[in-house]
Symmetry: C2
Subunit: 223 residues, 2 copies
């Protein structure tokens, strides 16, 4: 099985670079999160809303956003006055540590609290690649259906936080919140779950509390 | 760039197998389509609705459904009385020709008109892999936002047909149908676009006309 060996080598190289990134963040007391979702679940809309709220709370952050070819998400966040670095992955369906390393080199660490990585829209490969983050966040839309945690268990297993977006659409779909949340708890009992609507703004302050707690932990204890 | 060469070799092997599948379909006068979408865009719901309608029209078909780990979609279609073969890709984010070849070997070609492949939910890698299909279909949900064609141009370029599902949700979102359709036409002017709602059933008969025309072409002219 030649391919298996090749994949192991790719993963080993990736993990070595990820360890380097983790060390850099460690040395600077910076927390790093990796937000993973399907295309169109609302990661960019979320950052457009959460970014100014974070700033108001005095959190100093940088965003790294991944997309295959375009800079559309980066342009949206730039227009919202948020500090953002674009990664283009070409035909690759995920961000790897090498790409993040290049982006991190562009970022001033001085006085920084938080790096937010918005991954390429995909529930499979992004869950496999360590990019040096402290926490993976699994981000979902209610319009995708409540079966997604069971269909993409690796992502749920790897995540420390799950955000359910578009709660405003629940009444127009057959999305079963209890089924969704119970499926997550079965796969990963220790995970925290937050319900939000980027349309109404509902719930986003829950993210602020969660992330501020994680930043505090990081500054006090390291990773 | 060792990885580039490896990728070319993987693609070459894939394409050779895909050619074999295409030849098998050719020899049996069977049309094959490959439906590609984000997770939760509604491919399975669509087949649950369209399958019985196809049968009523006298179209003989088989479904091959791809998922990383589970058989949830296959079980849903089996419960709806539809003939389905499950492919599990493990941690792979797409179906390749080798997996399809195995599934095709399980299918009786005698009297068959159509093979429908439901790919793994992902807009990136499935667009790159030829699996021997006659037509790729790009399948979207209005809840994903109207920027998806511009963000995933390869899929649109590779597709002969675009289906927009969940039109029932348009009024509850900021989805701009004209922007979405114009973006598609800019990337691929020859593509046909269909609007449907699997919830209300609206528009699905448009797919029946399209697919029956393609089956007729295939029987008359080959590929």
């Amino acid at each position: 099985m030649g391919f298996k060996v090749i994949k192991e080598n790719i993963m080993k190289t990736n993990d070595d670079i990820a360890s380097g990134i983790r060390k850099t963040m460690e040395d600077n007391g910076v927390l790093m999160i990796n937000i993973i979702s399907s295309p169109g679940a609302g990661k960019t809309s979320f950052l457009e809303k959460a970014g100014p709220m974070l700033r108001k709370e005095g959190v100093s952050f940088e965003i790294i956003t991944g997309d295959c070819f375009t800079s559309r998400d980066a342009e949206r966040m730039d227009a919202a006055g948020l500090p953002v670095t674009q990664i283009n992955t070409g035909n690759s369906c995920h961000i790897d540590a090498q790409l993040v390393k290049k982006a991190v080199q562009e970022i001033r660490m001085d006085g920084l609290d938080l790096v937010i990585v918005e991954n390429v829209g995909n529930l499979v490969c992004p869950a496999e690649f360590d990019i040096g983050e402290d926490h993976k966040i699994s981000f979902h839309s209610t319009a995708e259906g409540h079966d997604k945690p069971l269909k993409y268990p690796l992502l749920v297993k790897e995540s420390d936080y799950v955000i359910i977006n578009k709660t405003d659409l629940i009444e127009h779909t057959d999305f079963d919140v209890s089924f969704f949340e119970n499926s997550i708890k079965k796969i990963n009992p220790r995970v925290d779950i937050l319900r939000i609507s980027c349309k109404t703004g509902e719930g986003i302050e829950g993210f602020l509390s969660w992330i501020k707690e994680r930043i505090k932990e990081k500054k006090e204890n390291g990773a």
